[in-house]
Symmetry: C2
Subunit: 384 residues, 2 copies
């Protein structure tokens, strides 16, 4: 938890409940241009039989009125102006007629409180304003500043170390040789982490070598709050990742392999009190497992209560098969139907193809106990 | 338009179409741990009558195989490994049995191409990758970097000047005197602009004085791409805003007043080739009109094709009345129903109450020609 200037706290997670330190507004304000009146003086007024009122003051914006109203008196006032003492309503200028330099006719009766915002009508002293765990939106900042709250307690941004492993990986700016590919996952992960409001720290690319990987992982664990190992794609590379993770601290690997497609070889661990993830090397698996395991962990560690991703309801356009006993995540493209609803069109592709993700707008889940989903089903699509 | 490093281009708007400079992958890759084979050598193989193959090589990750395969030969290969010449499929290790140091039994036939990603299967040279106007997502950055595209053309962030007018306004850090309120709109607008990917520039708070406001607006127009005047709330302050805007350059005010609630006194203008907005002083009106007029203008100027705000479908919980001939925007809170759908619960409140916005999750539109919306109607809620 740390304090941030409210004006710079957009999208930060609030770390404590905020109560209102005062009433808002602090004075009775007019919501119309017109005349502040004592409502009782206008009772029964009509166009045929108007109420005559003496103009005794003009209320200037940003200043207190110079005097209160006596019976039969009124004061010129603009929208946002402060009501004089004894005034309890405002007659709109359109419903008055000036019949002399200091006299108006009120052509309509107003009720007490009409065209007036009362003290504390927006918010009262000690009202709960915002709740710990919320992500601060533009209007939340506006509301805080309206009450003079110029700094707020927010969750610290987490530092997330990313260690990439794989003999086949080269940095994006290098030309890959035969059998080599560019490292994609580190940068996709870094952007996902940044989008979630945290700070990625790229440790670099390491070969499938136990000592090199272990040393990189140890350094990353010491320097960060959370560590992700983006493992090589072969079974032996993944086994090595699990061993490395297990060596980082107690209790070590908690889960190795989940009943999930894509993303089966995911490793979930806690080492010396810090979450450590071994994510699969395939780009699609890597992103799906980030969303399923890492994003909620980062949100939980920050105390965020809102889901990290938006989701929308859509209609599936075709049957999808799935094995029961396994959760499947299917990439889909969303298309707007003429009736305004959304269609979810599956984007098929092997989980080692990055462009499956790029052609998709989100993913949908086929639950563990379902053998698939029929065309026409209403599905929840989590947006990328 | 400017070039940005791809790894730092999250959420930027792409300024030109991007075509693939090369195939991805550039070599045939195995999707399994196992043995690269000539598929024809496995035809008819079963557990009872396996195909015998000689192991002549081991493909190391990140390197080219040292030799091609002859008839009856295979090479050990891991997921992501490069296929040897003449190999056209991979037998999964689980479907083989090692019967000697250099011999395996393949217990199942594989088809040509099985367990292999072909050259260009992810993307082909000159394939369209991403389209001008897209906002770059994490996986888009990953895809670009996979192809070695380390910098991308993006739309320049627009600089938006914000001039606040009103005798009643004081800065948030000051204690308001009688009749004064803190400036809320400048900071809400600044956060909205930042969320939309642009750069707000707060010019400060100016009194309802023509010369002061005009000079501030001129300075803001010279220094920014777009200017917003957040006007005082009285009619005379709004009229002064319109005069100031009109004085800034040709053609000046295009629209003064829109058939909209809240937001009626909105001013739309173009001055010397730059968009200028006069937004109402009430916080709700200010935010609604930003979303309706300013956000789409900024998106259009950047060439962004995606809508600036997400929307969801929800079911209205109660009747809402509206005048025909006017578009109404109603703030709503979203509540998840037990059936998984969303309910839209109207949050009523005067448009000069900032906390109406804070208690709401989004807004829905009642169209110009509708007299209202009935409870139970499916509505589109634009999220804040």
């Amino acid at each position: 938890m740390e304090e941030a200037p409210t004006s710079a706290a957009l999208d930060r997670v609030l770390a404590a409940d905020v109560l209102s330190p005062s009433d808002l507004p602090t004075f009775r304000r007019s919501t119309m241009d017109g005349f502040a009146v004592r409502a009782a003086d206008t009772f029964g007024a009509t166009e045929g039989l108007p109420a005559y009122l003496d103009i005794v003051d003009e209320v200037f914006m940003g200043r207190a009125p110079t005097r209160g109203l006596g019976t039969g008196q009124c004061a010129r006032i603009a929208t946002g102006g402060m009501l004089p003492d004894n005034a309890d309503a405002v007659v709109m200028v359109e419903q008055t007629q000036e019949v002399g330099p200091t006299t108006i006719e009120a052509l309509r009766a107003v009720a007490p409180g009409e065209n007036v915002v009362q003290i504390g009508e927006d918010v009262r002293t000690m009202d709960p304003l915002l709740t710990a765990g919320q992500r601060l939106r533009p209007q939340d900042l506006g509301g805080l500043l309206a009450l003079g709250i110029t700094s707020v307690p927010v969750a610290r941004r987490l530092s997330v170390g990313i260690v990439s492993g794989g003999d086949e990986l080269v940095a994006p700016e290098r030309e890959p040789g035969p059998g080599q590919i560019r490292d994609v996952n580190s940068y996709t992960l870094a952007a996902l982490i940044r989008r979630d409001g945290h700070t990625p720290c790229l440790a670099g690319i390491f070969p499938d070598d136990y000592a090199a990987l272990e040393s990189a992982a140890q350094t990353a664990l010491a320097a960060n709050d959370v560590v992700i190992l983006s493992a090589g794609s072969s079974v032996s590379a993944r086994d090595m990742t699990a061993q490395v993770v297990d060596s980082l601290g107690e209790p070590g690997v908690l889960v190795h392999g989940v009943s999930l497609k894509p993303g089966k070889p995911t490793i979930l661990a806690v080492c010396s009190g810090k979450p450590v993830f071994g994510l699969p090397g395939n780009p699609v698996s890597c992103m799906v497992t980030y969303d399923l395991f890492v994003a909620p962990t980062l949100a939980r560690l920050s105390g965020a209560t809102s889901p990290p991703r938006m989701s929308v309801t859509a209609r599936l356009t075709r049957n999808i098969a799935s094995a029961t006993g396994r959760e499947d995540y299917i990439q889909v493209r969303l298309e707007r139907r003429p009736d305004g609803g959304l269609d979810a069109v599956p984007v098929f592709g092997k989980s080692n193809l990055i462009f499956t993700l790029i052609r998709a707008d989100g993913m949908l889940k086929i639950p563990l106990d379902a053998g698939g989903l029929p065309a026409g089903a209403q599905v929840e699509v989590v947006l990328f």
